[in-house]
Point group: D2
């Protein structure tokens, strides 16, 4: 299928609308991003890629990284990962403590903050040099070494980390955090500070479209079955308490970040990344969701 004209139309239509939403403003590094930014990159398994707007500009991928840390941890520890985190949609906000308390410190899924912190704890236990090994892993996924963390972003997040500190301490009280709580928070904020362009992000998610195989190296990243499972988790849990809405409107597995990025996958066909910093009240990119809805509507192709 020819996605180029569709991407162009999507970009054109949405660029012409007056943008709505709010930039994340709890740290200066996010608050100072221009709200006008808007980029798309679609990476087709058939070799046809297309892009529009600010698709070559770096942005903070934030929570999108949680899918990749989950992939690495799932690959390392296998099925026993599910003893420490569930796979159910939370039905609540991304940083809620309520369910965590009722459910004795086992997070609902690995894509809410609590679950991502458990995944960080696992990687710290399993890796010798977690920060560098994880960075190398993501560079490998996207076939480029130009990806890096933003230490200033990480430091700034750390200063406002009280709610995440509450989560990690609560889980520690239930025995579901094995390392020092500050060590876990540090690693968490470091990986969330990763910066990519739309192209790099679409490339990093392309192995899901390719059912677990790295398109660039030809190496298998994870089994086809595990790729399916992580995609299923994205579909049901990738957008916090708006997961149903995204699934309903877009019909693709995906993950959003508070920096305004969204990565999504059409298994067997393509991966796609969108970036626009203006967020709705649920913390998801307004233009990003619209762009992906328009993409699956115009192409008449989604997983459903």
């Amino acid at each position: 299928m020819e996605y180029k004209p569709i991407i162009e139309q999507v970009f054109h239509n949405i660029s012409n609308e007056k943008p709505t939403g709010m930039v994340a403003d709890y740290i200066p590094e996010l608050a100072n991003i221009s709200p006008e930014k808007f980029g798309i990159y679609l990476f087709g398994l058939d070799g046809n890629n297309c892009e529009a707007g600010d698709s070559q500009e770096k942005f903070s991928i934030q929570s999108i990284v949680k899918v990749l840390s989950l992939t690495m941890a799932f690959d390392i520890v296998g099925e026993k990962i599910w003893e420490r985190v569930d796979v159910e949609p939370s039905g609540t906000s991304f940083n809620s403590l309520v369910q965590l308390e009722y459910e004795k410190g086992i997070p609902r899924n690995p894509l809410i903050n609590a679950g991502a912190l458990v995944i960080c704890d696992i990687l710290i236990s399993e890796l010798e040099d977690p920060e560098n090994q994880f960075l190398g892993y993501v560079q490998g996924l996207s076939g480029t070494t130009r990806i890096n963390y933003n230490p200033q972003m990480a430091a700034s997040e750390k200063k406002h980390a009280f709610r995440n500190a509450a989560l990690v301490n609560l889980m520690k009280s239930f025995g579901n955090i094995h390392n020092d709580t500050n060590r876990v928070l540090d690693f968490y904020f470091t990986i969330c500070s990763m910066e990519m362009t739309c192209e790099e992000l679409a490339r990093a998610f392309s192995f899901f479209a390719n059912r677990g195989v790295n398109y660039f190296s030809g190496n298998r990243i994870i089994s086809s079955s595990k790729s399916k499972r992580i995609s299923a988790i994205m579909q049901t849990c990738g957008f916090y308490d708006e997961a149903g809405e995204f699934s309903f409107r877009v019909g693709l597995p995906g993950k959003s970040g508070v920096g305004g990025g969204i990565a999504a996958v059409y298994p067997g066909h393509y991966s796609v990344a969108v970036w626009s910093p203006l967020l709705n009240e649920k913390g998801n990119s307004v233009r990003g969701m619209k762009a992906l809805e328009m993409l699956t509507t115009l192409s008449e192709a989604s997983v459903f």
Copy 2:
């Protein structure tokens, strides 16, 4: 793809395992079903159908019917249906009142009991003869007139309806039920008492696989976009607080019923119905979930 050998292998393997789980026992009509029953029917859009076991025996489809009543109501009232019911996974049990109270009488989605009761209320308002018109609608979907309600089942459910009565009264107190509460409960239990064989059920769901078009008549049931949306709701909400687990293991949109049936859809390819009355503690068919997981694993084909 040739599904016949796969279906046969699935049936063979699972039949040979000692079955686990419990038959639903809150009414005699369900408690008296033989726990040994086990049937599968796969309806392929390419004309290749295959079946195994008790696939031609009638069973009570129960909550599976909620997908079809949603389809009819969505078709009649259009997008404004979402003012009265949301599309988010609930993260809680199928008959919980908690979220309903916090969220002012708006059910999380149309596939939990509360949401299905709102859909019933809508159909009562919109149809002149709701019971007969809905029955005719489902008969049309599956291309057979041999489908009917079981009035004894409906009457028996009604006698144990206290929790559903609580739900409908709570929503009425918030103004989200427009008809008499007993009328709504009657209609709800009547449609849940519908009986089908695996073949009939697979046929009734085949228009989702066919993106909204009736395979038998060639008529469009709902738009492609609405078909995608209802499938998305099945994917995120079809299995109550086990929706993530089903999505994770099976990777198809589907819906279960307390009678032990499950209907699922692989858009563009097939619909499938499984029936085995033994339920896990979440109320979903143990063998049914296993059979569908094995089907997507052996065929290496799911929506992800």
Copy 3:
């Protein structure tokens, strides 16, 4: 102690303030009461009674009756009453379903709606003619036969009873209602429709001040220990999610009703009833709470 000048001062000061709050408006019988009404009656065990304002006018005592139905049921069935209702403050609104669901149909205490419905269910099981026997019981407590129900009020409440219907059905689903749900609701609304003057209400509560003995007949109503226990429940649970506030400001066990009445008790000294229909957002009489706070502040006498 001489309470007459204090009551007069309380009445004078509060009458001169501009009243705030809202009259309960969910049924016409309550909405049509004049918001200006304001009465107090203090019944002293030393024989010195005093009153001010509209203290001889009938009003709907509503939830205040729950203390008296509890007393009758506790007397009849004894300690085993606590198998069906707890004695803990709820921390939530008077008609919440949330805790009831988490706690498997056992209401937090007998003074929230759910608990009062269980008490009604018990009285229906234990009495031959519940309505008349309970009315006679309350007439006996206050030493007058001029007390009666208001059938029009009861009928009007019944029409808006959806949330109470939800509560009673939810408890029935857990097995904690033994009689027909409509029978329980009927009895509940009948007793809540009871009308009294401030004098009659203060007299009806005087046996708590007198540690279980009827001041008028000299008969023991309940044991001293049971009187203490019911007073303790009033103290911790009598004002829904404002119980702490009332205890904090007033320092007496008491119970409010949505009709604007409050009955309170100073054990060993007096009972007191206040009536003013203007309610705060928690559903408690604004002037009633102020009057009682001023009474215990000016007299420098509370249970603490």
Copy 4:
């Protein structure tokens, strides 16, 4: 009234019963206390004191201290203290995070952990040398300088402080903690490590019985009205999710600690302290509650 024979009977009866319950075991300092310990001390305003058992042995007063830190903070900052903490019973466990999240970081009352942490934060802001000034304050209340902290206990608690760290971080995220979270935790654990004998504890609470005036020095500690208010909070909130039960059985305002102590007050008459380390599943001393229930039953005197 002559309490000596009653205290002796209470001690005799309960000593002869086989003790039930569990010693708090989350830190070695508490786990190693002999479960046989049992002491009572009643401090009468009429000068008649009486005691039994291990009433002169030091124990860790733990949460009982929260009443005294509240008193000091209430005295210093006055009514504006209630902008940062409410006075309602929580209806939940002592260290729950659920309500705190729903209620935006404002704890339900100052006697649950979250509320006590806010009080600590206030004292840190208001005092130059919080640890020493608070110790001096308590020494003054009980008229003895033999009271001190146990630094080893404080250090040990700090090591298992994950849930309290979650609470304080969650409140900090809502802006309701003004000092460094570790500083607040340090002060909290220090004051909770205070050790007293039953006699010292009964003396420390005697100003509540004396309506705000220090019995030993004759100085007013707090106004009569504030004394009433703090007593009211003890009555409704002093025993976590068992506050209703304690009020119901004992009928006095009181506060328990996980070290097995309970302090209670009969305003105008006496203060009393009991100590027995065996706790029920709610964390309150089994023998302590029994002793106080027997005391108010035998003396036929409670606040109700």
